[in-house]
């Protein structure tokens, strides 16, 4: 599909580096670290929208097409959200080309064009503060003296992965050595596991009786690991309080299985009980993540796994029919307003479906993968 880039009036200061955005980033960074105050959120959201409207040319075009400008928008929920797909086609950034030090791409092998989320040192500082604070808030008490193991390639091999950047940030916070990254890149360019390193980690007699492990990885990397363990008839019982964090779906990189099946296998082959398996929801277009926890559904005896974002990042579940927020318990598309996306766009419309549960959501999955009824040939 052809996309003709941003046209229109000559883009004077198209990516004007705005001091106001830098100041905003610094203030938000400070606020995240010192304890974000919910009551500031509305003002911050409207303030950030005004700045992004002014400085982010590609975003401004979208807002103008919808007739929504800072003068009109009165509430954060009215701020125009951009679809994640727009990150593939437009440069949704306020950073001038020479100020971009890092770009995160969306993962997935089936995409023609990856998303591009540009960063510089200031935006990365906000990203790192955001990811650590929410991780720490959720899990800090449980991670003391954990030994992390990360099932992705190391950051030097994957400079465009926001996920690996996050894992690297966590590794540093854990004060763990660099060799905890157990992934590598195959000759075809896909992520694979270094099984020798993994087995050594699981089999290390020194650590066996010692610290709990914390295994981080993508869903497909866990499938690769579990398949390999099963093939070799291997089973481990990781120390008590060991944990698993899985994220990101399959992306055609492994066979697929249901969450329940995956978690049962993790419990069976790694000895990590279900309550110690945590799912993360994040994407390269965001600077904050959501974690799930078990919530008792008041209407049934079932426990729902509900994802929550940090207070500086809000999720809404949007009816695909009306574009308005759905009622509690209803299904819709997940939209996130992430204040930590300072230099890109805060309001992001994902293609993921979720069920609204209070201020969180249950994740259903990717809408675009929902095969339409009828004939569905994919064109290359």
């Amino acid at each position: 599909m052809m996309f003709v880039g941003c046209r229109g009036k000559p883009a004077i200061n198209k990516h004007r580096m705005n001091q106001e955005l830098s100041d905003f980033a610094a203030r938000l960074h400070e606020s995240i670290i010192s304890g974000f105050q919910d009551e500031n959120r509305e003002a911050l959201a409207l303030g950030l929208f005004a700045l992004q409207f002014k400085d982010n040319f590609a975003y401004r075009k979208i807002c103008e097409a919808r007739g929504l400008t800072p003068k009109i928008v009165e509430h954060w929920t009215q701020i125009p959200a951009v679809p994640t797909a727009a990150f593939k086609e437009s440069e949704l950034t306020s950073l001038a080309p020479d100020k971009r030090t890092t770009v995160f791409h969306s993962s997935g092998t089936t995409e023609q064009k990856p998303s591009r989320h540009f960063h510089n040192s200031e935006s990365l500082a906000v990203y790192e503060a955001s990811l650590w604070k929410w991780f720490e808030t959720n899990y800090e008490s449980r991670i003391a003296s954990c030994e992390p193991l990360i099932l992705t390639p190391p950051p030097e091999l994957t400079p465009n992965s926001s996920l690996v950047h996050m894992f690297e940030t966590l590794r540093q916070k854990f004060d763990a050595p660099k060799n905890v990254f157990a992934g590598k890149i195959s000759t075809e360019g896909s992520w694979i596991l270094d099984f020798d390193l993994l087995l050594a980690f699981f089999d290390n007699p020194k650590s066996k009786i010692q610290n709990p492990k914390y295994i981080f990885g993508t869903t497909f990397s866990f499938v690769h690991l579990l398949d390999r363990l099963a093939e070799n008839d291997l089973q481990f019982k990781l120390p008590e309080n060991s944990r698993v964090m899985e994220t990101g779906g399959y992306k055609n990189r492994s066979r697929t299985m249901s969450k329940t099946e995956l978690h049962l296998l993790i419990t069976k082959l790694l000895g990590v009980p279900r309550e110690n398996i945590i799912c993360e929801y994040g994407m390269s277009e965001l600077s904050s993540q959501a974690y799930d926890s078990a919530i008792q559904n008041p209407e049934s005896r079932i426990q729902n796994r509900v994802f929550r974002f940090p207070p500086w990042s809000r999720a809404q579940i949007i009816s695909p029919e009306t574009g308005r927020e759905v009622a509690d318990g209803e299904t819709g598309l997940i939209r996130i307003f992430d204040l930590a996306n300072v230099f890109s766009v805060a309001a992001i419309q994902t293609e993921d479906l979720g069920i609204r549960r209070g201020d969180g959501f249950e994740l259903i999955g990717r809408a675009q993968l929902a095969e339409p009824r009828g004939c569905s040939l994919m064109t290359a």
Binding site: M1, M2, F3, V4, G5, C6, R7, A58, K61, I62, E64, A65, R66, V82, P83, A85, A86, E89, S90, P320, E321, T322, G323, T331, G332, L333, Q349, E351, L353, I364, A367, Q368, A370, P372, R373, G374, C375, S376, L377, M378, T379, A380
Partner: protein, 453 residues
């Protein structure tokens, strides 16, 4: 309306099918066929089927009423289902059956006795046709017509039939089977309808072991899996997924004629909510007419808006609505950045219909449910170059063109690989004689015996 427990699909959801039940059902079907169907004349079956179709067209026919009352359960509004069903049953006339039999067998009585055509007479030969004793249909779930057609053809050729429907898609085939049973219990006894999730090898092996002929619709992957599980003796007729598109020549894009053509394009988008293999994903509009492709798109949007009032699309499951909403989001961004090359029109407060105009002429798969692309091209050759990604997978091309150009267009499309060319507005409404995927309608089912004198 309470349907009696007659078919396996009538069993309560908690009932579990076993291979033994399938095998027994197959044996019963074969016995019944021998007793009630094998010796019926073609004419009596044509009479039966055309009378049944006439019944289905009667507003008070109980099965029709029941189908329409429950249209939402199968994902269509009442009006959409009504029109789509009418279009289907209107085809099942004595004349059309006769035309079909003559087209396929050169003589409408070939299934009954040795018959001879003029050409055969010259060669001193004659021939008779046998159909398979037992046909199995593996039906896809998108729209019911192909399944109903399979049942009709199976009856016409006097086969016992077992129809395996995709999960959640038995409703109409089951109603149709009950209507057969209601009109002639003996014929109904030669038919079985069941439902299970595809890939259940235990059940399918039991079924395939008995099949003389298996017809299947579905993805290439599904067809491949089925083929691999068939015994050597079973004939396999697979219909993989296909796509379709429209082409409007510039000569007809003038004045009131253009408006009529827009309305026919809307017919194709609305029928079965665009979910069939014959429904268009894209309408290619030739440049150079009074109405530009972009204007055509706008008129089509206005027409779809009108249709929504009388033939609403109906509610969609969240994931399908989400696919439309997500796709719209992409075009909204493109339109904001380059309105000269992308425009889109959407139903308000719903995903009921969407028209996307793109200057980029490359073929684009629609997410369906009344989501249509309009693309401008300088000529048919350019359209086909841009549809190269689906070449070999195209079923129908609906055309609007001056009569004198139709043959030239059809020849060009045939050489390119399309297997059906029809007027725009008739895409999802093929005649009974339609050669599915360019293959004989009945010819692949049957076996000939020639007598050389």
């Amino acid at each position: 309306m309470n349907l009696p427990n007659y078919f396996l699909a009538d069993l309560p959801p908690e009932a579990t099918l076993s291979p033994m039940m399938i095998a027994e059902a197959c044996q019963t079907l074969k016995r019944n066929r021998e007793q009630y169907l094998a010796n019926r004349s073609t004419q009596s079956l044509v009479n039966f089927l055309s009378e049944l179709a006439e019944n289905w067209l009667e507003p008070e026919f109980q099965f029709r009423k029941f189908a329409l009352e429950n249209s939402a359960t199968i994902g269509f509004s009442r009006a959409t289902l009504e029109k789509s069903l009418d279009n289907f049953f209107k085809q099942l006339t004595r004349e059309n059956f006769h035309a079909l039999l003559v087209q396929e067998f050169s003589d409408a009585k070939r299934l009954d006795a040795l018959t001879v055509t003029v050409a055969e007479q010259k060669q001193n030969r004659t021939a008779i046709i046998n159909a398979p004793e037992f046909q199995v249909h593996i039906a896809a779930g998108n729209i019911p017509n192909p399944t109903l057609t399979s049942i009709v053809f199976g009856l016409l050729t006097r086969s016992a039939q077992f129809v395996k429907c995709a999960s959640g898609s038995t409703f109409l085939p089951r109603l149709f089977a009950h209507s057969i049973y209601g009109a002639d219990p003996k014929l109904g006894a030669c038919l079985e309808i069941a439902e299970w999730r595809g890939g259940n090898h235990v059940l399918e092996n039991a079924l395939f072991a008995e099949a003389d002929c298996v017809t299947a619709t579905g993805s290439d992957e599904t067809l491949d899996k089925i083929r691999k599980h068939l015994p050597l003796k079973s004939r396999f007729i697979g219909h993989g997924h296909r796509v379709s598109f429209g082409f409007v020549a510039h000569e007809v894009l003038y004045g009131s004629r253009a408006k009529k053509i827009v309305a026919t394009a809307a017919d194709d988008v609305v029928e079965w909510n665009q979910l069939g293999c014959l429904s268009p994903h894209v309408i290619y509009v030739q440049l150079g007419g009074e109405i530009s492709p972009e204007h055509f798109a706008q008129l089509l949007a206005e027409e779809l808006e009108k249709r929504e009032a009388n033939e609403p699309r109906g509610e969609l499951p969240a994931e399908h609505a989400a696919a439309i909403a997500s796709r719209r989001g992409i075009y909204e961004v493109r339109a904001a950045h380059s309105p000269e090359t992308t425009r889109h029109w959407c139903s308000k407060d719903s995903t009921a219909w969407t028209v996307v105009f793109e200057a980029d002429a490359r073929f684009q798969m629609s997410c369906l449910n009344r989501f249509i692309y309009v693309k401008g091209v300088s000529d048919l050759k350019t359209a086909l170059e841009n549809a190269d990604s689906v070449r070999g997978k195209v079923s129908t091309v609906g055309i609007a063109a001056p009569e004198e150009k139709a043959q030239e267009i059809a020849t060009q499309l045939a050489r390119w690989g399309a297997t059906r060319v029809c007027p725009l507005g008739q895409m999802q409404n093929p005649p009974l004689t339609w050669r599915h995927d360019g293959r004989p309608a009945l010819g692949d089912l049957v076996t000939w015996t020639d007598l050389e004198l």
